[in-house]
Symmetry: C2
Subunit: 185 residues, 2 copies
């Protein structure tokens, strides 16, 4: 919809590609927001720019919730999350291996977080819309000292699910697991 009809094909000129991304990113973001509001639906959008910059959007600001809703879809058409062609017992056994893997994944995220995180406070969510833009290059490496200092800070209770029962686990990985758990029983 510009001066010329466009062929849908990778833009080779990197400058032009970046400019196009920037403009179209805004357009699709607007569309996603309008769709969410007009139709009162869950919409999640994640985009990485050619330079690695992240732009994300989600209805009510929780990509995790929408992704979980996606993951928990009991339909193989959704994707390849789950292969039902295994016996129950094997599944449980293998689940334990996933369990281990997930644990290490959590620790990994934890560590990379501790290493890279500054002192900034996460912004509040003023509306139903969340738009986050993050530049990889903006994440400055910090010293071991500052990483250690993170551990000194007082733990802050999560306000994200104020109506929930307090659980023994901390808010490390929110991913709305608590919310999902309610559904799962």
């Amino acid at each position: 919809m510009g001066r010329k009809k466009l062929t849908v094909r990778k833009i080779e000129n990197s400058t032009f590609r970046q400019v196009t991304f920037s403009k179209r990113k805004d357009g699709i973001l607007k569309k996603a927001n309008e769709l969410a509001i007009l139709c009162d639906t869950d919409v999640s959008l994640i985009m990485f720019s050619p330079a690695g910059r992240l732009t994300s959007f989600a209805t009510d600001g929780r990509i995790e919730d929408i992704f979980l809703r996606f993951v928990d879809r009991p339909d193989e058409l959704r994707g390849g999350y789950y292969d039902p062609n295994v016996e129950k017992i094997n599944s449980v056994t293998e689940a334990e291996e996933y369990q281990q893997f997930l644990t290490s994944a959590i620790q990994h995220i934890e560590l990379s977080k501790a290493k890279l995180l500054g002192d900034r406070i996460a912004p509040e969510n003023p509306t139903r819309i969340e738009v986050a833009e993050v530049d990889m290059e903006e994440v400055a490496p910090v010293t071991d000292e500052s990483a250690d200092s993170i551990r000194e800070r007082k733990s802050v209770g999560s306000k994200e699910h104020p109506d929930e029962t307090c659980l023994p686990m901390g808010p490390h990985l929110s991913l709305s697991f608590i919310h999902a758990q309610k559904t799962w029983k």
Copy 2:
């Protein structure tokens, strides 16, 4: 962009809301695809219709990959996945509780899958584009017999990561954990 300028506000008439969703869903899907191709970028889009129908899109067909890239972002602006304000030891302890939770989550998905899954084969991914549409209502309830019969079927190796080392765990929960693990060490 129709006969009338539209106010961005929830459409109260449910029929019209559904129609609008359907049309705009196609539009944003096209935009997402064009963005991904033109700018050669990772884009992930998840939409639930007012009726609960899922429509999803992802560059190269892997929402999980893009979500993982999102999750693994070491930046608190991305969301509230991780609270660094806890001591290391507590984190590990709590990680074990997440571990347990994740295990039960896997089993839940497994069970709901076994109960609801039919005999259909997941479609191949012909292009870089993945568009999946799933209707909750289309998932017909199956009898215990048919649920049992699922366990009889022969296990099929995942072809999603053909170049990977074979791991002891099965392909229950692909979520590209294996792919992620390579990055993590």
